[in-house]
């Protein structure tokens, strides 16, 4: 499956197409995606693919096949259910991400990781 994904609608479509595949338990799927997603959308893509790994005979979605540009938006960050020092760390990372450059890219990745870790805690 090769897709360009640029938002929740594309994500919905991807997941719907995967779920619609027949005989999933005996099907090997290789997913290759690119596009631009928010932190929440990227986390949703990651979680959605991981959730379906058990469903398919094999679901391969290596990172080298994921050319996704993550652009955290305000909603991403405000929606993070963190308080206290975690919120302070989130805000500092957001400032560094907005500054751009290599450090900004790292901060963006760190924010994405924060979103994922918070999501893990809430599961």
């Amino acid at each position: 499956v090769v897709r360009s994904i640029d938002g929740d609608a594309d994500l919905d479509a991807l997941f719907a197409d995967l779920d619609a595949l027949p005989d999933r338990g005996r099907t090997i799927v290789k997913v290759k995606v690119d596009g631009t997603l928010s932190l929440q959308q990227a986390a949703r893509l990651e979680a959605g693919l991981e959730a379906r790994e058990e469903v398919f005979g094999a679901l391969e979605h290596p990172e080298r096949h994921r050319d996704i540009t993550i652009v955290p938006d305000a909603a991403d960050l405000e929606a993070l259910p963190v308080t206290g020092y975690a919120a302070v760390a989130r805000d500092r990372l957001r400032e560094r991400a907005q500054a751009g450059g290599d450090d900004g890219d790292r901060a963006t990745d760190a924010l994405a990781l924060l979103v994922r870790l918070v999501a893990e805690g809430s599961r």
């Binding site: 963190v82 206290g84 760390a89 500092r92 990372l93 890219d105 870790l117 918070v118």
Partner: protein, 878 residues
């Protein structure tokens, strides 16, 4: 959570008891040791944690030691909005009953009751804080670690403004786990990153190796093409050019070798003929040389005989001349002896004159010495008789001066008579006549009296008064002293004294000049030595006179010296003449000896040459008898012909060899052979290389290098992408971990402040003065500063650590407030002195927001806790 009531039945050593606790404030439970205080709270823990069905050891331990009975624990407590009573029976007749009184009354039993109780506790009770606030007997004196208390953290967080630790739902642990997935504890890349790095390096190496192999394969194809093209060309050169050329050259080389053998034979024949010719010529030359040598010796003998005769004549002449010169030399020697004798006599006479003069001088000196010594002796005698010395002379002169002055004073102090005549007249003065002119008056002094008489005119008598008598006595006294001084000097008056003094000085001069004169006359000798010298001089004069008896009158010294000089001159003249004759005689003698030696040598040489000539002439005659000179000449001619013919045959053979150019033939053979060998080797090597290249191309084709390289490059691209993403994820994990821990540490520092302040305030009340405490990350006390002196926890005394730990626990319990748990002191403060006990009691007594339960066997230890409810366990057990 608040413990409200605990009831035990048959639990350990407690048969039955029930204790009620104040929900806020202090409850002191008094009981002796081993009467069940600790059992009371251990039983609460078992009820809260263990199911009634449990067979755990701590449950079994509830049963009394001597009875097989069920153990029942009943606890009433409140937590949050819930008020409940739970009753559990263990070991026998097991059962659980949970009675919820509020908010909604309910009774639950069995396992469900236990589960419900756990649910309520986990939801509303900070169990970590509950464990932290238990001060059991014998507890380690570690600081109270409150860092695990969620309630305390939330309260501190709220107090600090809501940025503190909060409950992050395990976020920090997950972030750390993610970080540790990529990095070690010390921050170095972990095994996953290292494995990725290694994997990337391996794949890159594989790809590079395959690319190198493929490039090598392509080079092999090019190489094989070149080899296939070169091999036939080299075979053609070998077969059509080099091999025939080498065969032809080797034929020429064989001919050259044959001719070299011929030349060698001819050269040997020529060399033999040349040797024969040389030997024959040498024999002829030796014969001619011998004959020439005999002839030369004949000439030499004749020349020597001719030169010897005049030499012998000259020798005879020289011998005659030397005989005549010897007689003349003898006469000159006699004259020289006579002149030397005359010189000796004139010298003796001069010596006699000198000795006589010396004797006379010594005699004069000796006489003068005797004279001086005697004069000095007379002067010394005269000096001994003179009493006058310089002192006495000065006394005489002084007395004489005094007399002169007294007389003058008498003259000026006495009355005077002055007469001025109007005409010349004659008169008598004290009986002496005197004349008086008119030009000037005449004055007379009157020492005593004065009588003036002008004949026939008048007589005048003048007398001095009383003052003149004293002056007269002074003059008399001066005269007496002068007479005394002269008497002492043994002289009559001053004038005589002056003469005697002059005589004394002359005598002294004689004595003083004696030594100088003696020194001059003796000239460093003593008088005896001078006398001895005089005797020696006299002896020498006598001895010389005995040798010169014919001399009757001595000449003067100059005459004697002149005679000596004349005799010396005569000796020098005779000596010079004799020396000249001696030198000429010696020179002539040397010439005679040289000539005699030359004659002897010439005679010897002549004899030697004659003998040699005779010996060689005899040998030449023998040789000619054996082989005449004509035979030798014929043999030389025959040898010359033979040598000429051999040389001509050798030259012909060498010319034939040279025409073949043997060096060029050898060079060509060698060069062609080497070329052929090189070509053989090259063809062999190319053949092997072709086989190797065929094999490598075959192997390369089988290995599918091109496809393998494509796959390796794909794999490298994938691994690179994985590597890049993994590092990006690792960097994100590191950054998130860094930001979270930084923010957490900052929050910790902020929200620890309320607890620290509360502990410090209590510590100030306990210890007095300025007290600050420092909390670690786990909210445990790590140090205390009192009045500027900072100590770490470990440096504090056991008592201080226990007191600070209690204050920290009490502060935590107060901060937790209604969400908190009981603060239990079980036989604590054993290290605390009475004064501190009173202060701690006061602090505990102020507690209103927390439940404090004190278990003690020493009731007096907590009597200072104001407002505490005291329960005596023995009474409660009744």
């Amino acid at each position: 959570m608040r413990l409200l009531r605990v009831a035990l039945t048959d639990v350990r050593g407690v048969d039955r008891c029930e204790v009620r606790f104040e929900p806020d404030g202090v409850t002191v439970v008094e009981a002796p040791n081993e009467s069940g205080k600790t059992t009371l709270l251990d039983a609460v823990d078992v009820l809260l944690e263990m199911k009634d069905s449990s067979n755990a050891q701590r449950v079994k331990d509830l049963q009394p030691a001597d009875r097989d009975v069920p153990s029942t624990i009943e606890v009433e407590l409140s937590c949050g909005a819930t008020h409940l009573t739970c009753r559990k029976t263990f070991n026998k007749q097991r059962g659980t009953v949970l009675t919820i009184h509020a908010p909604t009354p309910e009774v639950v039993k069995g396992t469900e009751a236990h589960d419900r109780l756990r649910t309520i506790l986990e939801a509303d009770v900070d169990l970590a804080l509950y464990r932290a606030l238990r001060f059991a007997q014998g507890r380690d004196l570690d600081a109270v670690a409150l860092g695990d208390s969620a309630v305390l953290a939330a309260r501190l967080d709220a107090t600090a403004g809501g940025t503190g630790s909060g409950d992050d739902g395990g976020l920090i642990e997950r972030a750390e786990r993610e970080y540790r997935r990529w990095f070690t504890a010390t921050g170095r890349p972990g095994k996953d990153l290292a494995a990725l790095d290694g994997s990337l390096a391996d794949v890159q190496a594989d790809r590079n190796r395959l690319a190198d192999d493929l490039a090598a394969l392509e080079r092999h194809v090019e190489e094989l093409t070149r080899v296939e093209r070169e091999l036939p060309h080299l075979a053609q050169v070998r077969d059509q050019e080099l091999a025939p050329g080498l065969e032809q050259a080797r034929g020429q080389a064989d001919r050259v070798n044959e001719l070299r053998g011929v030349v060698a034979t001819r050269r040997a024949e020529r060399d033999h003929a040349a040797l024969e010719l040389t030997a024959t010529r040498d024999a002829r030359a030796r014969r001619e040389a011998r004959a020439s040598e005999v002839a030369e010796l004949d000439d030499t003998v004749a020349a020597l005989e001719a030169g010897l005769a005049p030499r012998r004549g000259r020798l005879d002449e020289l011998v005659g001349r030397r005989t005549a010169d010897g007689a003349e030399l003898t006469a000159a020697a006699a004259r020289l002896a006579d002149a030397r004798e005359a010189l000796d006599r004139s010298q003796l006479l001069a010596d006699l004159v000198g000795a006589e003069l010396e004797r006379r001088g010594l005699q004069r000196r000796h006489e003068r010495v005797v004279e001086v010594v005697e004069a000095a002796r007379d002067a010394e005698r005269a000096l001994a008789g003179i009493r006058l010395d310089d002192t006495r002379m000065r006394a005489i002169r002084a007395a004489s001066e005094d007399l002169r002055v007294a007389s003058a004073t008498l003259a000026t102090g006495a009355p005077t008579v002055t007469l001025r005549a109007h005409r010349p007249l004659r008169l008598d003065v004290d009986g002496s006549p005197a004349e008086l002119g008119t030009d000037q008056p005449e004055v007379w002094t009157v020492a005593d009296r004065l009588a003036l008489s002008i004949p026939e005119v008048v007589d005048v008598q003048v007398e001095a008064g009383t003052s003149s008598d004293e002056l007269v006595r002074a003059v008399e006294e001066a005269e007496r002293r002068l007479a005394q001084a002269c008497h002492e000097a043994d002289v009559p008056d001053l004038l005589t004294a002056e003469r005697v003094l002059e005589q004394r000085d002359r005598h002294r001069d004689v004595v003083e000049r004696r030594d100088a004169e003696l020194a001059r006359e003796l000239d460093g000798r003593t008088v005896d030595e001078l006398a001895a010298d005089l005797r020696d001089a006299e002896d020498r004069v006598a001895a010389l006179r005995e040798r010169l008896t014919e001399v009757t009158e001595l000449p003067d010294a100059a005459t004697a010296r002149a005679a000596v000089d004349a005799a010396s001159e005569a000796v020098r003249g005779a000596d010079d003449h004799h020396a000249g004759l001696r030198a000429a005689f010696d020179e002539l003698s040397a010439t005679v000896e040289e000539e005699r030696t030359a004659v002897v040598m010439a005679e010897t040489q002549l004899a030697g040459r004659r003998e040699e000539r005779d010996r060689l002439a005899a040998r030449l005659a023998d040789e000619r008898a054996e082989r005449p000179d004509t035979d030798l000449a014929a043999a030389v001619t025959a040898a010359e012909d033979t040598e000429t013919q051999a040389a001509e045959r050798l030259a012909a053979a060498e010319r034939e060899l040279a025409d073949l150019d043997p060096d060029a033939v050898e060079l060509r053979v060698t060069n062609l052979a080497a070329q052929l060998e090189d070509l053989h080797q090259r063809i062999g090597e190319l053949g092997q290389l072709r086989a190797v290249l065929h094999e490598r191309l075959r192997q390369g084709g089988e290995a599918g290098l091109g496809e393998a390289l494509t796959q390796a490059e794909d794999r490298l691209e994938r691994v690179r992408a994985d590597h890049r993403r993994a590092h990006a994820r690792a960097a994100a994990a590191a950054l998130l971990w860094e930001e979270l821990t930084t923010a957490r540490d900052e929050a910790y520092r902020a929200y620890r402040a309320p607890l620290r302040e509360r502990i410090a305030a209590k510590a100030r009340l306990l210890l007095g003065g300025s007290v600050e405490v420092e909390l670690g990350d786990d909210l445990a006390i790590v140090g205390r500063t009192r009045d500027g002196v900072a100590l770490t926890w470990e440096q504090l005394s056991a008592g201080a650590r226990e007191q600070l730990a209690i204050l920290a626990a009490l502060s935590a319990a107060e901060l937790a407030g209604s969400d908190g748990v009981p603060f239990v002191l079980d036989d604590a403060l054993g290290y605390t002195d009475p004064d501190r006990l009173e202060r701690i009691g006061a602090l505990l007594g102020r507690t209103t927001d927390a439940q404090v339960i004190v278990l003690t066997c020493v009731a007096d230890r907590f009597r200072h806790v104001g407002g505490a409810r005291t329960v005596r366990l023995l009474e409660a057990a009744r």
